[in-house]
């Protein structure tokens, strides 16, 4: 039987076991929406397409499945760009569908026409403009494969309206044959052996673990490795939650706002074992002084990451989980107390601290309380800015994948829609969004989506009435010449919450936090907690631009 390509698209999604689509309809994608009308797939109607793509991203991070979103042509498509770029930078598997004007009108500047495949070349793993309806099932098959395998990433499929309406015989391929795309999963045995040898002889090893651990679901192997060789573990921001936050071997985050212990450990190590990390500028600081005495073992699925920023002595291209398993089979239990003693001394000497009791509520205190209340077991979604760093520093993640945040692109406004996606992916779980008063406003219309979907989100706004991170940067780099960071007007978040039928609290003191935060988190429905926090607070320590990470300062 012949069906339209739009109907075939929905069937393909069913075959891929897609459960949820986040989207926003419009003219050019009407046929797909019409096909969705009868599908068991759940469609979540957002309030801006940026919300759809971030929600799909949050859903993917929370569930480990491919996130799917959908928008119409033109502005629908361009509104997705930030979210696609965000997923690309953080290696999140997404399949993004956009409607397009009919093929006869492509290239004529037709109404709501935009060259979205051209626009997204720099920010997708791959993209397709479908010109032949018969190819659509194969393209979708390929798209899911490319998005989810190797180093994951977003794939976009642009579907012209006439193609969507074309009738085809439906046949979903069961295998993929892409001659230009063959990820390497198994690490080279010789290299793994070499890594094992180096680990055996290292006196001061450090494990530097990134988001690749989470993508490859290798948290257990990471823990085993650390405990086998008794090496301290530091996480990149993206890697947080891949290693238990309360484990004695845990150093916390490294880099720009990392712990001094982590940065000193890396600077002084003789072997750096980089796992699923990419030596990002926020991690390395001044490159020449990053792990200057270390031999570097770098395990990553993406060969292009190896040697991109720093010189690597033992490159191992492969899936982190598989490589770690191989590696573990070659390792023996190791116990070198002097290095761990040194690490322990640094940890004691340089704990993360902030000053309490200055009459104002400190944002760090709120995070500590959050951690305390749910014992590090919630799924925490953040936006971008100071609050994000405080979460990274003061929340002790217990479960892999329980931090959902925009690392590479640093997208303010990611948080709320991502939390929507995460909550939809994990219906029974406590999902907490920690955000700032600047970030939440970027995509605050998605409160409407949360309301419509009846999601019991807990939204914690660390409200300092300022774009805090930029203010901090202006303090440090611009001589406190504050420009365009102070909001002259602050919305009343309680009334705003009420507009969306959401219960709200405003907390001003530690005492109020102690009393009301547990109640807020315990409420069955959605809650917005507006925490009025100290505006002058800085994220410390900080590595000044161009300096080595060992030279972090407080500001």
């Amino acid at each position: 039987m012949e069906i339209t390509a739009a109907q075939a698209l929905v069937k393909c999604l069913e075959k891929e076991q897609v459960e949820v689509i986040f989207g926003y309809p419009g003219g050019a994608i009407l046929d797909v929406y019409d096909a969705l009308y009868h599908s068991p797939i759940r469609h979540v109607l957002v309030r801006h397409e940026q919300g759809a793509v971030h929600a799909a991203d949050g859903y993917a991070r929370a569930t480990g499945k491919v996130g799917v979103c959908m928008a119409t042509s033109g502005p629908g498509a361009t509104n997705l760009v930030t979210g696609i770029a965000n997923a690309y930078m953080d290696s999140i598997p997404l399949v993004v569908f956009t409607g397009q004007v009919p093929t006869s009108q492509v290239g004529t500047d037709a109404f709501q026409e935009v060259d979205i495949t051209g626009i997204t070349i720099p920010v997708t793993k791959h993209n397709y403009l479908v010109k032949d309806a018969v190819q659509l099932p194969r393209i979708i098959k390929n798209a899911f494969h490319i998005a989810a395998t190797g180093r994951p990433g977003p794939v976009l499929i642009d579907l012209p309206r006439d193609v969507a309406q074309t009738r085809i015989k439906f046949d979903y391929p069961d295998s993929v044959n892409l001659r230009g795309y063959k990820p390497t999963y198994r690490g080279h045995p010789n290299k793994i052996a070499e890594a094992a040898r180096l680990i055996g002889s290292a006196a001061r090893p450090v494990i530097y673990a990134g988001g690749g651990i989470l993508n490859s679901k290798a948290s257990r192997e990471l823990l085993t490795l650390a405990e086998t060789i008794n090496a301290p573990v530091t996480n990149t921001f993206m890697g947080l939650s891949s290693f238990p936050g309360d484990h004695p071997l845990f150093l916390g985050m490294l880099g720009l706002h990392g712990t001094r212990a982590a940065n000193l450990a890396v600077t002084n190590c003789d072997l750096l074992i980089a796992l699923g990390a990419r030596f990002d500028d926020r991690v390395t600081g001044k490159l020449a002084e990053f792990a200057p005495n270390a031999t570097v073992v770098h395990v990553d699925i993406d060969p292009a990451e190896i040697g991109k920023n720093v010189q690597v002595h033992v490159p191992i291209v492969g899936d982190v989980k598989q490589v770690l398993r191989e590696l573990l089979s070659r390792l023996e239990k190791k116990q070198d107390t002097s290095w761990l003693e040194q690490i322990e001394a640094w940890k004691k000497q340089y704990p993360l601290v902030y000053r309490r009791g200055e009459g104002e509520l400190k944002p760090q205190y709120v995070i500590e309380k959050l951690n305390e209340i749910n014992g590090g077991n919630a799924v925490v979604v953040t936006d971008v800015g100071q609050h994000q760093m405080w979460v990274a520093q003061y929340y002790r993640f217990k479960r892999p994948g329980s931090l959902i945040s925009s690392g590479g692109l640093g997208t303010m406004g990611f948080g709320l829609p991502a939390a929507v996606g995460a909550q939809i992916g994990l219906p029974g779980e406590l999902v907490i969004l920690v955000t700032g008063d600047g970030s939440i406003q970027m995509t605050m219309q998605e409160l409407g989506t949360a309301m419509e979907q009846e999601l019991p989100l807990k939204i914690i706004i660390l409200n300092n009435h300022v774009l805090g991170m930029v203010r901090q940067l202006q303090q440090v780099y611009c001589d406190s010449r504050y420009m365009a960071v102070e909001f002259k007007f602050h919305p009343d978040f309680e009334t705003l919450a009420r507009a969306y039928g959401i219960k709200s609290y405003t907390l001003r003191t530690e005492k109020e936090v102690d009393q009301l935060l547990p109640e807020a988190l315990g409420s069955p429905g959605p809650v917005l907690v507006n925490c009025l926090v100290c505006a002058a607070e800085n994220v410390n320590p900080i590595v000044i631009a161009g300096k080595a990470i060992s030279e972090a300062v407080d500001c």
Partner: protein
Amino acid sequence: MRHTLAVLVENNPGVLARVAGLFSRRGFNIDSLAVGRTESPDVSRMTIVVEGDERVLEQVNKQLHKLVDVIKINDITADEYVDRELVLIKVNADPAQRGEVMQIADVFRARIVDLGRKTVTLECTGNDGKINAFEESLRPYGIKELVRTGKIAMLRGTKYTGLQENGD
């Protein structure tokens, strides 16, 4: 140092934009890029000449590999290969000078492809060095217009850069 890459790509629309975009985005320097179809209609071949040290080349290679439409990359710089480029040069040559220009053309085994009242248009094929030398010899006469195709290259002997296995 200059490297010559033979890159096999899917003959899909937009593949040139993907490759060009990658080079510009990552800040790689392209010296020349020539593209055309190959013995199989669904595969195109790009000959890309890139300037850069080993580390840059390694990144060029790896980043190109990440493009789903890129099937195979061969850095043939260190191999024995034949490379050719075509140049068209329109040069000033009034009748009195034509003899000299034609002599130069002879030396380089170039051909005259068009004659104007005051100009001669020449076609010359060869490797980089030869083309450069040809251009230099004509410069004194006044080059009115010059266009080069960019280099294409192929390995010598029984080695292939195509999709088939190497060997006889």
